[in-house]
């Protein structure tokens, strides 16, 4: 049984972020892996889970989500081996600080030593990055520039789009994945979704054919030619 907690969908659910929970659960159950997806509301205590999902959100809700998570057991649970997959505003919250409503730095969870400042322009558009041997496709829409401290590894190298700073996208640690590609990034990138499931469950996954294979191939081709 893989327990997935979708964190504060009412705050961090702006860009189809339910898509990641859906893809994880469908790609697991179709292989016979039981999954329990829990929606964690802002009035709920953080439940025990193997994987916590953080989505994208607007400034005010992002600040409230950060405040609630700072008071929660998330940091402790990650220290004890729980995994996190975060996108967009969720990525920013995991760092030491981020910017909302202007340029005031707001304190993050400090789970990872990265800092987000406000970029001079918003980064909006399709994103293509090289993650290990695979390409990752997605859509980004954010105003942040994220700087990784030495020793923090980016998730991918940007081939098209902006990501953290035009060069790298997101970050990855032993138990955390973070990317600026929001919403259904795991639905669009079946290999990445499977990598997350394999890591969290410790299973070797059997191959699975889904409609997403065609979509993924089409987006990679379309973005690689630009």
């Amino acid at each position: 049984m893989m327990k997935i907690a979708l964190i504060y969908p009412e705050l961090l659910g702006t860009y189809g972020d339910y898509g990641n929970a859906l893809a994880l659960s469908q790609r697991s159950t179709r292989r016979g892996i039981d999954v329990d997806v829990m929606n964690v509301s802002i009035t709920d205590e953080l439940p025990d889970a193997d994987l916590y999902l953080l989505g994208g959100g607007e400034d005010g809700p992002q600040r409230l989500a950060a405040d609630l998570l700072k008071k929660s057991s998330l940091k402790q649970r990650v220290a004890n081996g729980a995994h996190v997959f975060a996108v967009c505003a969720g990525l920013q919250i995991l760092g030491t600080s981020f910017c909302v409503e202007g340029n005031d730095a707001y304190e993050g969870l400090s789970l990872v030593d990265v800092e987000t400042t406000r970029g001079s322009v918003r980064s909006v558009g399709e994103l293509l990055s090289q993650v290990g041997e695979n390409k990752m496709v997605g859509f980004e829409n954010h105003g942040g520039v994220t700087t990784l401290s030495p020793g923090i590894e980016p998730l991918g190298t940007v081939l098209h789009g902006r990501g953290n700073n035009g060069h790298f996208d997101g970050f990855v640690t032993e138990t955390i994945w973070a990317t600026y590609a929001h919403g259904p990034v795991l639905a669009m990138n079946p290999w990445l979704c499977d990598e997350v499931i394999a890591k969290v469950t410790g299973n070797n996954l059997t191959p699975l054919k889904t409609a997403a294979d065609q979509l993924y191939a089409e987006r990679v081709t379309s973005l690689s030619s630009r």
Partner: protein, 404 residues
């Protein structure tokens, strides 16, 4: 009309008409918006001048503004001036006003342009339908629209009446700064953009028929409401029989009638006249394509899509869905995951449009039966009317493909 205009306004209007006739002559569309742009460039106050001494209703919101504008026009009676082509920014407003001298005006207004239109047209009534996520890659986030409305409405005069949907907390937040408000109790199933309070970001608590937040922000009392096909405004109850489908359109009609009631049009009269609206720029029309009858349904965002999916007749009939992601649609199709396609289980969906693979992926994860249509000739033939749901440019493509 010239009595409304200054000399500069008159010159701007002449230039606008020249551009209109030129672009019509060269076959480049109606030219109205192009003319409006030229007029505004010559005289930025042209919209103000053209609106003088007229009764203006503005209609805005994420979903239903074109339909509600058409319902207001039909309910008001003869010769109402309106931007019927859906050109809902100032150039389109100028184009509409310059083409008609009617004292009665209804203008569909883009959400982002509402503050400008409020200032320029000095409306008697503003209808605010709903606010939800839509084309987030182009528009800014929905809460900032609510903030801008709130700020603009706080500067308006006492004689402006705001007709606003009390079941949408974002609309209530935006509207409550106005001085004279007629709240409408309109069923609003989409709640995902106002789960947290627009005032304090705490959770909004919904009970049957109401909502509130711990900070004191709560649903206001209403003067108008809808129950099934019945509309009540103040103490008058009217049974509606609209020609366009969907419970959401009864809500749109109720808000249109509430707006017209402010201008002394009796609701029983206006709601009866609204029956004449059968299709708006193809929306809700049944059209023909290769011997098939196609019911044309436009849905541009999750709230609109959910409302249309709920309006489908129950059963297992196939549905055609066409999705594009061009600039006018918003280039990010992530919103497909905010639509509850799960309710289509038991039907087969034919995936059309340039982003049909994004749709098929979404449907696959929803365990809905689907087929990706790479060749339109492979679509099934049936004598029944087929429901086609399409987003903005995909809808235009199908309007061109089909005939009336």
């Amino acid at each position: 009309m010239s009595s409304r205009l200054s000399l500069r306004g008159f010159l701007a209007l002449s230039a606008l008409r020249t551009v209109n006739s030129l672009s019509r002559g060269t076959g480049r569309g109606s030219g109205t918006v192009a003319g409006g742009r030229v007029g505004l460039a010559i005289y930025p106050k042209l919209l103000n001048d053209l609106s003088k001494n007229r009764q203006v209703i503005l209609v805005s919101g994420t979903n239903g503004k074109t339909t509600t504008t058409a319902l207001c026009v039909a309910g008001w009676g003869d010769k109402v001036c309106s931007n019927a082509t859906g050109a809902n920014m100032p150039a389109g407003h100028v184009a509409a006003l310059s083409g008609s001298s009617s004292p009665h005006v209804v203008l569909e207004t883009d959400e982002a342009w509402l503050p400008v239109a409020l200032e320029a047209t000095n409306p008697r009534v503003v209808v605010l339908l709903n606010l939800s996520r839509d084309q987030l890659d182009r528009a800014t986030e929905v809460r900032s629209i609510a903030e801008r409305w709130r700020s603009a409405l706080s500067k308006t005069a006492h004689d402006l009446v705001v007709v606003a949907n009390a079941n949408d907390p974002l609309v209530v937040y935006a509207s409550e700064s106005a001085k004279n408000i007629r709240w409408c109790n309109i069923e609003t199933p989409w709640t995902s953009d106002a789960v947290s309070c627009p005032k304090c970001t705490q959770s909004i608590v919904r009970t049957s028929g109401s909502w509130s937040c711990v900070c004191g922000f709560t649903k206001p009392g209403c003067v108008a409401s809808v129950s099934g096909s019945e509309v009540r405004i103040d103490n008058e109850t009217v049974q509606t029989s609209l020609s366009i489908p969907g419970q959401f359109n009864v809500g749109n009609a109720a808000m249109a009638a509430t707006a017209l009631d402010v201008l002394n049009v009796d609701p029983s009269k206006s709601l009866t006249s609204m029956k004449s609206v059968t299709a708006i720029a193809g929306r809700f029309a049944v059209r023909t394509w290769q011997g098939r009858k196609i019911h044309m349904l436009l849905a541009k965002n999750p709230a609109g899509f959910d409302a249309l999916l709920q309006s489908l007749s129950p059963g297992t009939d196939d549905v055609w869905i066409a999705i594009n992601a061009r600039i006018a649609d918003g280039k990010d199709p992530s919103w497909l995951y905010d639509v509850s396609f799960e309710q289509l289980r038991g039907r087969k969906v034919w995936c059309l449009g340039e982003r049909r693979l994004d749709l098929s992926t979404r449907l696959d994860y929803a365990n809905v039966t689907y087929e990706v249509v790479n060749d339109l000739n492979s679509l099934p033939k049936t004598s029944d009317t087929t429901e086609l749901l399409a987003n903005y440019t995909a809808f235009s493509d199908w309007m061109q493909r089909t005939t009336a």
